[in-house]
Amino acid sequence: MDAFLPVGILFICALLLCVGLFTVKRLLGPRNPVASKLSVYECGVKPEGNARAPFKTGFYLIAVLFLLFDVEAAFFFPWALVYKESLAQGPGLLIAMLVYMGLLVLGLVYIFRKDCLKLN
């Protein structure tokens, strides 16, 4: 935990930079609010339609799949850490991870067969 004290200092530095940038942004630069400048930008054409149109479920699917694979990767990390040391006791860890990865490769194969990622 002591190692994170410099990270705290870095946090404060980053905060100061952000506040500085914000102040500079507010202070400098002219202000000339004109209606056309303040409206939605759509390549110079008048904006039309609801700004929040419905989106494809492809994005949601990507997010969920990312979550599942991120959890999988999170379990790879502790394994990677102790793998080298545990080899002295035999191939136990290797087999455990091969089983784990095998089940997830099955999931990956299922995703490829279902072919849903073409939605994007």
């Binding site: 200092i9 530095c13 914000f22 942004k25 080298k84």
Partner: protein
């Protein structure tokens, strides 16, 4: 921690942070001159000798331009957007090692902001926060193009985080530690006295994965569809003013520097010179601090080389389409990452059994 330690640590942190922030104006000019060189034209050469003061002109222009906050935006998140991207980009440099250690008043201080024992996880975790600035900024703009750009950019970033994590995991597997400093220390010496003992010779596939994923993570060409000028106006930063644009680009360049720093630390030996070990350097130079200076210069040169590679690739290769990008991540890189993990595990097993 007594007062002297605290002061030295604070000064060291500030110096490293300011050094990283300096990357941004340097990259502004390097990018434009590099692009010009590749495209066989002069590039900016008016402001100062060889156009070297161009970043100053750019920054002054950005600060002095008018800020027109559109009416329809969601004020709080619109203002917070750029800073949400800048924050993780700033925090993530804490785990990068620039050198071994230097001696001041009989105490050794490491040349790194903090020796975090979970270095790689820290970088992956804080790096994954970068997408919130894009998501919230794009949503708060209340503009169709911004939102589509934000969704696409975040889908791209999260899809490529998995191969990045898997490549990093293989590196952790090989070195047996999360800490970047220990990984660099483990790359000292030579293989059979011919090649330097660098990570790339042990993990070539891992380096390839990491390299490709780093381009996608930082939204650089060939993966910059979300912010491409011709396609989506300006993507998620359509409704933003000049200084916010500057902030987004600052964050992008700092992310590039961090990714380069990671590649150098894991695969290219960090601060080690190719065939000269630290002990020989100490013999030649005598002073620990001079050796530290050489180490910092080596690390910075390697990072600079990778930044040049980023610029080089940007102006050489055409852009991927969004579905090609996604297919590359899910169908090619993730299986390759898993295969890399298995191969590394098997190699370690047979090496251990031998």
């Amino acid at each position: 921690m007594d007062w002297m330690d605290l002061i030295v640590t604070a000064v060291k942190t500030i110096v490293i942070y300011l050094g990283m922030v300096q990357v941004v104006p340097i990259m502004l000019i390097v990018e434009r001159r590099g692009a010009a060189l590749i495209q066989d034209r002069p590039g900016p050469n008016r402001v100062g000798p060889f156009g070297l003061f161009q970043p100053i002109a750019d920054v002054i222009k950005m600060m002095m331009k008018e800020v027109a906050v559109p009416k329809q935006v969601n004020k709080a998140l619109y203002i917070l957007g750029p800073f949400l991207v800048l924050f993780p980009a700033s925090l993530v440099i804490a785990a990068l090692p620039f050198g071994d250690f230097f001696t001041l008043f009989d105490k050794n201080y490491i040349l790194q902001v903090a020796n975090i024992d979970v270095g790689i996880l820290y970088i992956l975790a804080i790096g994954s926060l970068g997408i919130y600035g894009i998501l919230f900024g794009g949503w708060a703009s209340n503009n169709k193009f911004s939102l589509i750009g934000a969704m696409r950019s975040s889908s791209q970033i999260i899809s490529y985080e998995i191969p990045l994590g898997l490549a990093a995991c293989s590196a952790v597997l090989w070195y047996g530690t999360f800490s970047l400093r220990e990984m660099v220390t483990g790359q000292e010496g030579t293989i059979l006295s011919v090649l330097p003992n660098w990570g790339i010779f042990y993990q070539p596939l891992g380096f390839l994965l990491f390299f490709v994923a780093a381009f996608a993570e930082t939204n650089r060409l060939p993966f910059d569809l979300p912010e491409s000028e011709a396609e989506l106006v300006a993507g998620f930063h359509t409704e933003y003013g000049p200084m916010d644009f500057g902030t987004f680009f600052m964050a992008e360049y700092m992310n590039m520097a961090t990714m380069s720093g990671l590649m150098v630390s894991i695969y290219f030996g960090g601060w080690h010179l190719p065939w000269i070990s630290d002990a020989t350097l100490l013999q030649w130079l005598g002073s620990r601090n001079l050796v530290a200076l050489i180490q910092v210069l080596t690390a910075v040169t390697k990072i600079a080389f990778f930044m040049l590679v980023f610029v080089w690739v940007r102006w050489t290769i055409p852009r991927f389409r969004f579905d090609q990008l996604m297919r590359l991540a899910w169908k090619n890189l993730i299986p390759l990452g898993l295969i890399n993990l298995v191969i590394t595990a098997l190699v370690l097993y047979f090496k251990g059994a031998a």
